[in-house]
Amino acid sequence: MENRAIFSGKTLAYLLVLPQLAISLIFFYWPAAQALWQSFLVQDAFGLSTEFVWFENYVELLKTPEYYHAIGVSFAFSALVVFFSMTLGLLLAVMANQNIPGVQIYRTFLIIPYAVAPAVASAVFIFMFQPGLGMIARALQRSGIDWNPVLNGTHAMILVVIVAVWNQISYNFLFFLAGLQSIPKSVIEAAAIDGARPMRRFWTIVFPLLSPTTFFLIVINITYAFFNTLGIIDTATGGGPNGATATLVYKVFLDGKGGSDLGGSAAQSVILMIIVVVLTAIQFRYVEKKVHY
């Protein structure tokens, strides 16, 4: 039996979705179309001369080895950020989901980092990790580690991953906590009575029941790692050293803003858009099948 509202005509329905459509068109499709159009042009910074070049920007782009390097960097960076921000978020959520004194205070404090702007977080972390000046850098150097993110690509990567993860943990924490609280207590109690230990209860009951949240967070976190980490990378490392932290989105920003190469930059953003669309499609097509709603 279906419980569906019946409209006499389609006009009202279209009118009701119109605002949403308008917003999507103006803020999503129109800029995307602009980027697509720009990617076929070679243009100077001031827009005084324009030449239509078909796919030349793409061909040029795919000829540069630095671009492939940036693809590798992007995937490595995103994998690290998604993995650590989600596992840590989940761990903290499980901890904060217990009946312990002051749990509300813990929860509040765990959410606060999300309110810190990425660039600010980045600035604070750079200061702590600045060789010769920062507390953590000094501690590392004293313990014999030659910490040097300005020259060592691995160190620079670790630095941006730490900042990006730190910034995202709160978000994941919040969703995981909500997910945990929606799991019926009775199921867990029944398992406990049957003699399942906490670890087993977590992996066989809690984790599968959390899968809608986990799936949602994977999609959101991948998008975060691919796009929203621009500010962090810009402040912390500027894509360096030697391109070690230059992700795809950072290269779009660098070539378009710093280099005034709008065509090349637009071509990059179109490719990036395709990559993320494909990734998300794969997730919905294959991963979602394993999700229990």
Partner: protein, 438 residues
């Protein structure tokens, strides 16, 4: 209706304005700049002084962020048909600006049209050369200029028994090793790596960075700094980086605190670092000229500038142009230049201002401020030391830095890194030439 009183008030105000002032409305001129802290105060004071000196024009300064931000804001504003009258653009944005014919108004043409007294020869050639065409026509008005110097921590030098600051590169390398023995994290370091080790280094040794007088004579310039001399410098730095006798401090000037904190005893960076050192260094310090290789004939030549100049945007009204021309004459005034030099630490742009400062004995008390001027005027600038003008220079500096970082991190040899810097840079120059040629 609700808006009627407002309309009436407006009409009255307009009538009053016309009735009371026969000279007509004051012409406002927007000035976008990137100066922060005390230098922002200087900009505001200049605008206020100019506004107070006459009643026809009003300069309105607006801070728009970093140098790159100002350039981007200006470009975006131009595309939207809303550009400011005056825009402060850093030296590496020069090629971008001059290529944008139609978007800008060359300063020499402006001054001529407006009949303002203007003699390009009265400006220091090492400064104006950077902003002039090959014929010597000044395209933009130099505002704040600095050069690169070597900052020296005199107290730290005494520890390993070094008597005097190093003058040549071999002495720098030797001193860096000695300093490293007393301080394991850093002997010698630097900011603005490409400005110092490629751009200034080439001018100081009178060797070209690229053909066509480093791009000043045309956009069809080709980079050629992957020479044995450049390689020798980079190889030495790579060698010293291994034990941190030289320790890299990043592409921009974020590492400058390593000098004032006392960590790095020798530090190459801009002369504009002076106010910061003066405020924060708790040790005896000085600044000396950049080092050179004594086996290079003709070295040291002269250094080049860094900093920014004021560009006049195109498509403005005749009234605005009149005001801008007057403002530039106002800025060129000798006493004003002397004052600016002494308060900001930036260099005076006219010969008269430099001579007047010398005559006043100012440098006896502030010898550090004369070091960059001595570097700039060390010899008559040559094709290799007038300046440089490469398209996409902002991005190119990043590319060059990347390659230098690869060499310092031991991932490439010095020669491979320089070859890659040159070939990647040339690719960018060809791309720029293509959009700029039309």
């Amino acid at each position: 209706m609700a808006f009627r009183p407002f309309g009436a008030a407006l009409a009255t105000a307009v009538t009053l304005a016309f009735a009371t002032s026969s000279a007509g409305a004051v012409t406002e001129i927007q000035w976008w700049h990137a100066m922060t802290g005390p230098n922002n105060d200087v900009v505001v004071k200049l605008a206020n002084d100019f506004n107070a000196s006459q009643s026809d024009y009003r300069i309105v300064p607006a801070f728009k962020g970093s140098y790159a931000d100002v350039l981007n804001a200006g470009i975006a504003a131009f595309r939207a048909g809303n550009a400011p009258g005056i825009m402060q653009v850093f030296e590496v944005g020069t090629a971008t600006m001059m290529a944008a014919k139609g978007a800008i108004k060359p300063v020499y043409a402006l001054m001529k049209e407006q009949g303002e007294a203007f003699d390009p020869k009265s400006y220091l050639p090492a400064i104006t050369g950077y902003y002039s065409t090959e014929k010597g026509d000044m395209l933009s008005f130099p505002f704040n200029s600095s050069s690169m110097v070597m900052w020296v921590n005199l107290d730290a030098l005494k520890k390993p028994g070094i008597d005097a600051p190093p003058k040549t590169w071999p002495e720098v390398f030797e001193d860096a090793r000695k300093l490293h023995a007393t301080n394991p994290t850093c002997g010698f370091s630097s900011s603005w790596v490409t400005w110092g080790f490629i751009e200034q280094f080439s001018a100081w040794h009178n060797v070209p960075i690229g053909t066509k007088a480093n791009g000043l004579d045309g956009f069809d310039t080709v980079l050629e700094f992957n020479t044995p001399l450049e390689t020798k410098l980079l190889e030495n730095l790579v060698e010293l980086q291994k034990d941190k006798s030289y320790d890299y401090s990043g592409r921009t000037n974020t590492g400058e605190g390593r000098f004032t904190s006392g960590e790095c005893a020798l530090y190459m960076t801009s002369s504009a670092f002076y106010p910061n050192v003066k405020a924060n260094a708790k040790f005896a310090y000085t600044a000396v000229a950049m080092p050179y290789f004594p086996d290079v004939a003709g070295a040291p030549q002269n250094s080049i500038i860094g900093g920014a100049s004021l560009w006049v945007m195109g498509g403005k009204s005749a009234e605005e142009y009149k005001g801008i021309a007057r403002f530039f004459s106002f800025l060129s005034d000798t006493d004003r230049q002397v004052y600016l030099h002494e308060v900001s630490g930036y260099l005076p742009i006219t010969k008269a201002a430099y001579e007047k400062t010398i005559a006043s004995g100012f440098y006896k008390d502030n010898p550090i401020l004369e070091v960059p001027l001595k570097e700039l005027t060390n010899r008559e600038p040559t094709e290799n030391s007038r300046g440089l003008r490469f398209g996409s220079m902002v991005q190119m500096r990043d590319v060059w830095s990347e390659e230098i970082e690869a060499a310092l991190a031991g991932k490439k040899s010095a020669r491979e890194a320089l070859d890659a810097a040159v070939s990647r840079g040339n690719q960018m120059l060809r791309q720029f030439e293509r959009t700029a040629a039309k």
